[in-house]
Symmetry: C2
Subunit: 376 residues, 2 copies
């Protein structure tokens, strides 16, 4: 929460829930990453928050962009990024979208399978490609399935194949898991990556780049290490596994760039109990899982929530959204402490909601409008 957001919200009548993003925080985060990893290029993960103002600011600051779709590429270009600052980072691309991206000048593509590599070879001849490898994601708060990446042995073969297909085998990427609180997580992956670099070198293929992925956390309720600490851990791991032949590196912060920059304002619609003996009150907000808080799925992300009654005595409540969907409950297994004096009509501020909220929002479930974003 910043004074700028507080002041902005004072002047904004509460009709619907909204997200306010403080661009000054985004700028500070960008500068923090740049200082922590001065030798890495920053590719902002557009999917975290593609608000035009956020993209324009980052483009102006010199950021590059990790994109998930043709639409995101177009947004990055519209915000002022040149195509050489754009990576098409989704390993699952519609073949014709690869061709369209290539025509727009994009020259850097992710893959993790033979079939995707062949699509890229057909649609983007001569482009640089990087292969994503599997990583176990231990220590991360938002679950990483095996959806992305392949086993290192397969990555080696595919990068060799890339050269045969007329592509440039440029590097390797991995992702340690979103909201990764363990700075050591990068070390394990970099050991594998260093090994792959050497095995491919022995086959006459010189990789240039390591994509360190995202995973840099936002501060929710728990304290998390600072960008500086991540930077140091990563620099040490790079030195350990690459010696004095350091590769180019890129990072893809999304949550770490915009998460803490955003605050959602919501209103308490109802407070109730299910019976006179019910040990927990239910507190219903005007935003829930389908209105932008999808990351409360399985109660994975626990946001800090502020009210004007902070400081008063609290008790744990079950927190739920406003839709007629029984799955639209935010925190039930671990009820959330809120002031006992909380009343219907009170405003709550859900902090660190700048990432993975506005675009996750359903288009019209239950007739509710998607979450509105204000960038200030």
């Amino acid at each position: 929460m910043t004074d700028r957001i507080r002041d902005f919200l004072k002047g904004l009548p509460h009709e619907e829930p909204c997200l306010v993003v403080d661009l000054e925080v985004v700028r500070r985060n960008y500068e923090g990453f740049a200082a922590a990893l001065p030798d890495s290029r920053i590719f902002y993960a557009v999917k975290a928050n593609p608000a035009p103002e956020v993209l324009e600011l980052l483009a102006e600051l010199g950021s590059s962009f990790d994109t998930a779709s043709l639409a995101e590429i177009e947004m990055a270009l519209a915000a002022g990024a040149t195509p050489d600052r754009i990576s098409f980072g989704n390993t699952i691309k519609r073949e014709r979208d690869i061709g369209r991206a290539y025509l727009l000048g994009v020259d850097l593509f992710a893959f993790d399978s033979k079939a995707e590599l062949e699509k890229i070879a057909r649609q983007a001849p001569g482009a640089r490609v990087f292969c994503r490898i599997l990583c176990d994601g231990e220590g991360a708060e938002w679950p990483l399935s095996r959806k992305f990446g392949c086993e290192p042995g397969m990555a080696e073969e595919l990068l060799a194949e890339a050269a045969k297909l007329g592509l440039v085998p440029h590097g390797i990427s991995f992702h340690v898991g979103s909201q990764q609180a363990n700075t050591g997580a990068w070390d394990l992956a970099l050991a594998t990556v260093g090994d792959l670099f050497r095995r491919l070198e022995a086959r006459g293929i010189t990789l240039k780049m390591v994509n360190l992925g995202g995973g840099f956390p936002a501060r929710y309720l728990k304290n998390v290490p600072l960008a500086q600490q991540y930077g140091q851990a990563i620099r040490e791991a790079l030195a350990r596994h690459f010696g004095n032949r350091l590769p180019e590196t890129i990072i893809e912060p999304g949550r770490g760039m915009v998460g803490e920059a955003g605050v959602i304002r919501t209103e308490v619609l109802l407070i109730s109990r299910k019976s006179e003996e019910d040990p927990h009150r239910w507190v219903y907000l005007d935003i829930g899982k389908f209105g932008g808080l999808a990351e409360t799925m399985d109660e994975a992300i626990r946001y800090p929530i502020r009210s004007e009654r902070d400081g008063e005595a609290t008790e744990p409540v079950i927190l739920a959204g406003p839709t007629c969907d029984s799955a639209d409950v935010l925190y039930e297994r671990t009820p959330y402490p809120l002031p006992i004096s909380l009343e219907i009509g009170d405003e709550l501020l859900i902090e660190a909601t700048g990432a993975y909220t506005s675009t996750y929002s359903s288009i019209a479930f239950n007739g509710f409008e998607p979450l509105r974003t204000y960038c200030i």
Copy 2:
């Protein structure tokens, strides 16, 4: 799948995934419910699919509408429903929305708590109210939490209170759980409701209406009982618990009305393995959890999926969506059997997707457009 949908899709080039809803199936389902429960009024659950063509057809057929928000009330009115055919069925309402609904002529409101009752009394004096009671939802496929409803003892007190607040205590509602395959589920709830009717009668309060809720299933992979069987079980349960003093009843089918009427067409974007030894292929579609298939959450709903290669040998695959979100996996714990000969670029038809898909769709996650609906 119907011939009409098949023919329509033949003429539609595949650019993005889409949902096609066959209005003839909706009409048939409406008539099926009307025949199965001739003495019940049908309140279509708008949230299941609020496409204007669906609402207009149902309004024309004489349906009433169960709405979750002011926006849904406005949609039902725009489709031609009169306010006396609209129920504001969400137990969590913004207070000013109650007042606006009342000004639009809506006179039937759900509640399950004292605070909500008081809001209705302030904003909609003299309106009819019904209290939702908790139901355990056993036998349902889509989880029902304790989010909606209160214990019967509390319902009795609140309905008595309603009269004191100048409202009309009109009835009781319950919900046996969505996609409820057990026709006996209504019996247990109706025993409680019958008892409540008698207890309130003894206090001088005569309730008139039982809202039997929704829960009527769509046919996904398993066979489900027909509307006729639900109708008979419900009629028997009503006779058992109300004798010859049968209350008015309403039902709120959503999934049962439109689920089977819809088919989503999707394209296979990628087929891959994570290593040469990977026992399962991964099949990535151009639609996933954030593009409309949210009900695959926890693999709850298992849709029938057709391809032009049906009849050929199959093997179980892991099915995932196109976004850069590792949670965007549809079926992994229980892989889904698809033809071994399946290829990238193949079209798949996901059946029984007329309900809870189009509006669940995220507005722009990863830059992907929300699911488009065609009503034919």
